[in-house]
Amino acid sequence: MTDTTTRETAPPGAGEPLLGLVDVGKSYGNVAALRNVSLDVHAGSVTCVLGDNGAGKSTLIKIIAGLHRHDTGRYLLDGEETVLHSPREALDRGIATVYQDLAVVPLMPVWRNFFLGSEPHTGRGPLRRLDVATMRRTTREALARMGIDLPDVDRPIGTLSGGQRQCVAIARAVHFGARILVLDEPTAALGVKQSGVVLRYVAAARDQGLGVVLITHNPHHAHLVGDRFVLLKRGTMAGSHRKGDITLDALTHEMAGGGELEQLGHELARTPAPTRSPAAS
Amino acid sequence: MPVEPRGPEARQRRSGSHRTSPPLNAPAPAGAVLTQVPARGPGGGYLTGRRRPSSGRAGGQIRTEGQEPVAGVKWFRGRANSRRTQSTRTHSRRTHTGGAGGGSGRPGGRRSAVLAVGLVLTLALSACSSTGGKRAEEERARGAAGPAAVDTPRWKIAMVTHSGEGDTFWDIVRSGAEQAAAKDNIEFLYSHDKEAGKQAQLVQAAIDQGVDGLVVTLAKPDAMKAVVEKAVRAGIPVVTINSGQDRSKDYGALAHIGQDEVTAGEAVGEELNERGLTKALCVLHEQGNVGHEERCRGVRATFDGTVDNLYVDGTNMPAVESSLEAKLQSDEKVDSVVTLGAPFAATAVKAAKQAGSKAQVSTFDLNAQVVRALKDGELTFAVDQQPYLQGYQAVDLLWLYNYNATMLGGGQPVLTGPQVLTGDDAEALEEYTRRGTR
């Protein structure tokens, strides 16, 4: 934890962004899920997208990952306007997405999960088959390189802890040459210690030169690793900051709803606290 | 019984006039009624208040012998008709073949359909079978569509049976009924359900439709009682067929046409005795079917040896075969296998061969395969209850009743079987089983 907080290595905003969204919007039928959202992702830096439930985070992630197409605005990849048609295409263009709940197939062994969708082959003709030995070995090595020590890659990935699962997914993205790593709420369901582990791997990925998009509703986690912060509120952008421009307190305040929270505080304060005798037993 | 299949005379007669023999299933084209019915009698009027026809209203010239026309004119007409039927059938077949590929997998299978058509065009031309098949059948087939032979109004008669789906036996019953309906200018409605409750609902539906006659089976009589009595109260003449012989009269039916299952079973038992057999296996292909139980009970009643029941899953032919095999392997004393339905006879023969058993196989009911096996000596005998007759007579009797208030049997059951058929009869039967009327 302390390790990542002290790190201030990435030069935020240097050079051309890997990925840029300009005034992107998306509607489902008549419902506008996202309006005029802009963000940049630079190599070796972390862009955090913060927002409450229903703020449009998942829509944004689906657009970036190629699951959905944006209706308005521009999607720039390496400065070039792009339309992605499928997650496969996004992957091919170097955008890897790790979803919070659907990152892995729980019943499959770690090594099968690791190579899912990009399985190496050996042999030819009817004997063409999965290169199982290579798959196992590579999985072990790639995880080790990310600092993950997993004794048995044959374990079903569902038996790993939530943090470990996220880490395997991140290691997979790094291994397959992702340039942009999109993480959907990687710390949402995790305890403090597990969250620290994941954030460490996020930083590790950043240090390997990846552009990271970190989606979260936890400003504390975001502030630890983030270089830029984009705040979403009911489908629109509520703010965009650089790390130097905003303090954790300000971020927390904005994230928590700002004025709304104060209003809520007033309402709750007026309610008289129920008188309760201290049950000293 | 208009047709007596045994005896050389009958055979000769049939082979001589088979060009004009009754049609397979196709009812006469509607136009045929107008153009081909001979001159009407002077009375001309038809029965309209048809439920209880009074005497003296007979009009029109009626041929009830439509099955066996002898006059040269009719013969000629039969031939003309046969040509038409032939071409209609060819047409409908073609339409279907296209549908088989496209219909089931149309949206995604366009490429498959194209491939299929390609295959048809190339292979069917180059890879024709010189033996068997439709062509061989067509060379044999000379069926003629019998036009309506009467000029009574188009009465509506419904038949509701307890048949399961795709049952050969009931298919023949239906063919017979349709043949009679075509001849008698009757609009024939057929429905069936093997569950008694649903069958009763179908009878109710027929009552609601206001039919002029009702043919119904009483496989589970108690379930059918209320609705049959309701039909009788509604003034609909009811004839029961096939099953429910003892209850038919009580429920108010005018006649019962069929064969008592127990009697048929008893006939089998006696045949087995004649052949000196000692242990028989009764193969029931539907668990809980009352008729099947009765057939086996009949066998047990007259057979001097022992009878074992074997239940098999009739919807799964390999399972029938393997179960039979298993039984024959485990009990080598079995020297006779009796199947309760024609489709299972050939399977039983196969199973006996597989199990290395010497058991003789015999069966209830007929179909083309059974007749072939009888001919080849693989089956020892078959007991037929003449299902065609059940359908034909029921419809024809209802027509007669509406027309002339006459009823066969005077309330006593009219039996259509059992008729024991052996290899000697096979040749004469072959043609009829092949076209699905026996």
Binding site: L67, R88 | G101, G103, A116, C128, N316, A326
Partner: protein, 367 residues
């Protein structure tokens, strides 16, 4: 993916090395990873272990209670009965691992036989033409199932229930329309029949033991299916689409293609069995096959396939089919009151499933 299954020219894979890397739901056994412990752990995490124990149990049971059960002729009968279930059950198991159902598999077998028979007969074509057309039509039905499923996103239960009913009606209606009766005409006297019979319905006598060709088809299909599942990309995808469809899609697995391929696999196996029916009995009853779809599913479940998908094996389904074969014929060999047959079959099924669940739990507890 369907290509791997449709071509049975592939050499059967060796079960040994292939068997130890199937996706396993259980965590490894705790304790020092001794060689014996490792082996036990691998064994305990196999999906088909419960079924294997159950199969051995019913086998021993009937071997003891029916003296004629152990004769070679009897065993060949049991194997034959198992193979006629197992051929389709293998593909159904793969489909279930892929997270879907197929209720139309039972009648599709009959449809396939009907198409083959009626096409040959009506066109007076060499029976091999009918066999080929039947394959196309059957695959088209599979394609239709898969396409509709992936296109609409409706549950496969509903879609295949629809095709099941439609096929049942088509079987009866079209047969009656074309053949004039509810069963097809015999094609035994047509050209190509004997060759086709050799392929689909022949047998080999080995002393008292009769080896039916369906048993070979069954084993070959199990081998191919196992190979596909464990040693090909397609297999990885099957586990993935059944285990977590969204995750699979997110990493670029062609989910739709995989599912359609699985339905094509079922159709192919239905075709094989359909041709067996036809060439074994010359004629086909159009009302047959209803109810068998549940037996296939039951065999797959007994064999360790999860109803929810993502877990199971082809070999397990084969063992499940074997259990069905042993029990259904064992009751006949034991000469028990047939009225109890269905009850006993159901009880065996439940018992096998419970045993399966118990072993899985035990394996989990050793974590």
């Amino acid at each position: 993916m369907s290509d791997t299954r449709t071509s049975d020219s592939q050499p059967p894979p060796t079960e040994g090395p292939a068997a130890d890397d199937a996706p396993t739901a259980e965590p490894p056994a705790a304790g020092p990873p001794g060689r014996a412990g490792e082996l036990a752990r691998r064994l305990f995490t196999r999906p088909e272990l419960g079924a294997l124990v159950g199969a051995v149990a019913v086998f021993v049971f009937f071997a003891l209670s029916a003296e004629s059960f152990l004769r070679p002729g009897s065993l060949s009968t049991v194997l034959y009965a198992s193979s006629t279930i197992g051929i389709v059950a293998v593909a159904v198991a793969l489909l279930m691992i892929g997270g879907e159902f197929d209720l139309s598999a039972g009648v599709l077998v009959t449809s396939s036989a009907l198409v083959s028979s009626m096409f040959s007969y009506q066109m007076t074509a060499n029976v091999w033409v009918g066999v080929g057309v039947s394959l196309l039509v059957t695959l088209a039905v599979g394609l239709f199932n898969g396409w509709l499923l992936t296109r609409t996103g409706l549950p496969s239960f509903i879609i295949t229930l629809g095709t099941f009913l439609m096929l049942t009606g088509l079987n009866l209606g079209l047969t009656k329309l074309i053949a004039g009766t509810v069963s097809t005409k015999s094609i035994a006297d047509m050209e190509g029949f004997s060759a086709a019979r050799a392929v689909f319905a022949s047998q080999l006598d080995l002393g008292g033991f009769t080896l039916r060709v369906t048993v070979l088809w069954w084993l070959a299909l199990v081998a191919v299916a196992t190979w596909v599942l464990l040693r090909t990309r397609a297999g990885n995808w099957i586990f993935a689409v059944g285990g977590n469809k969204d995750a699979a899609r997110a990493v670029g697995v062609p989910v739709r293609g995989t599912k359609i391929g699985l339905y094509l696999g079922v159709a192919f196996c239905a075709w094989v069995l359909g041709q067996h029916l036809l060439f074994s009995y010359d004629v086909v009853q159009s009302g047959e096959g209803v109810g068998n779809e549940l037996i296939y599913i039951a065999a797959a479940v007994i064999g360790g396939c999860l109803l929810t998908g993502g877990y199971g094996s082809a070999a397990g389904a084969a063992i499940g089919a074997l259990i069905f074969g042993i029990v259904s014929k064992g009751i006949v060999y034991a000469e028990w009151d047939p009225n109890w047959f269905k009850f006993f079959l159901g009880a065996m099924l439940l018992l096998a499933a419970l045993l399966n669940a118990w072993i899985r739990k035990r394996a989990e507890a050793t974590r």
